[in-house]
Amino acid sequence: MAKWLVVGISDQKIAFSPDKLVSYALGSCVGVCIYDRKLRVAGLAHILLPNSKESLHCPVNPCKYADTAIEKLVAGMEAAGCRRQRLTAKISGGANMFDIPGPSIGEKNVEAVKLKLLSLKIDIVAADVGGNHGRTLIFDSVSGKLEIKSLFHGNKII
């Protein structure tokens, strides 16, 4: 029986087949889903902010920021036996919920996530980001598929 592991804001978890990872109601947050197809190991980081170096607060919770959270997740997956060259990423979230002028926190989050994944040489194989709606993510460790649910914009699988 597959277990559902809930990943809250500024948190991350690793799931082994057949378990699923779920993050509810992301707005500007970004869910970074990393997968090792061979071992069927899935990791999900639910990040709140782009850059730990801009933090005005110490000590920094590494799971809160894109740069540190992705590094930590990848290290955790490698410690579980995953190989870097097999890892692929799917990302979702980063919406701009409120129509406030200037670059939104959602956009900054998505940019920071893309940069970090690039520097770690992990390919983004699918993405559903931006817009102005919330998303719930369900990441399946068996198939590596990411199911995205929304209130008004339908559901999709990437």
């Binding site: 804001i9 500024s10 109601a25 998303r135």
Partner: protein, 204 residues
């Protein structure tokens, strides 16, 4: 400097009371607008971990309208209104005779009425805050989002997140016509502003 965690009981009481007076003033304004009696609950002061924010008003996937106004100048922070479909139906029924059965189908006029109500409520709330703390506060225009509560609350979470892993909420419920419909008002000051408020009130 006070962190959220080391506020004394007396200081918490003072902030709660500020929330109470501000919300009382806002409720009076709303009552006049609707020509109805509005009750408010005693404000709850909540210190919560940022990752718990989406669970505070039922489940993160519940649908709601969220309206956000930003406070700036002497005090930085956010005012957030969360309204469910029943509350909106009652409000818009009174104001513009609009019947809202589904939160997704509010008319343009309805949306701007909701913003205007938030504007009026926030104005009365902030006036009290200004006169009690001797501060100058600028209020942004309201912005609205209709979606999952959790997604709406990402905004205040990221606002507070750069400075802390915690968030201070002054939470007030507005009760219209008995106890049948409710809305939440959240006041979220940032840490520096919280210290300023405490200092200005001479309770540091």
């Amino acid at each position: 400097m006070h962190d959220y965690t080391n506020l004394g009981e007396f200081q918490k009481d003072v902030i709660r009371e500020l929330g109470n007076i501000g919300a009382g003033n806002a409720a009076t304004a709303l009552g006049k607008l609707l020509n109805d009696r509005i009750e408010i609950t005693v404000p709850a002061l909540k210190f919560i971990e940022i990752n718990e924010i989406s669970g505070i008003l039922g489940g993160p996937e519940n649908e709601a309208a969220g309206i956000i106004l930003r406070l700036s100048e002497d005090i930085d922070g956010l005012l957030v209104y969360l309204m469910d479909c029943d509350f909106i139906n009652h409000l818009l029924g009174c104001l513009i005779c609009e019947d809202v059965k589904d939160i997704r189908s509010i008319s343009e006029l309805g949306l701007s009425a909701l913003k205007e109500v938030s504007n009026i409520l926030s104005g009365s709330f902030v006036n009290v805050l200004c006169s009690f703390t001797g501060s100058k506060i600028r209020l942004s225009l309201p912005e609205i989002a209709i979606d999952m509560v959790g997604a709406i609350l990402n905004f205040p979470a990221s606002f507070a997140g750069e400075m802390s892993d915690q968030l201070l909420l002054v939470e007030v419920e507005f009760i219209l016509s008995g106890d049948s419909v409710q809305s939440h008002l959240l006041l979220i000051p940032d840490i520096r502003s919280l210290n300023k408020i405490i200092e200005r009130l001479g309770v540091g």
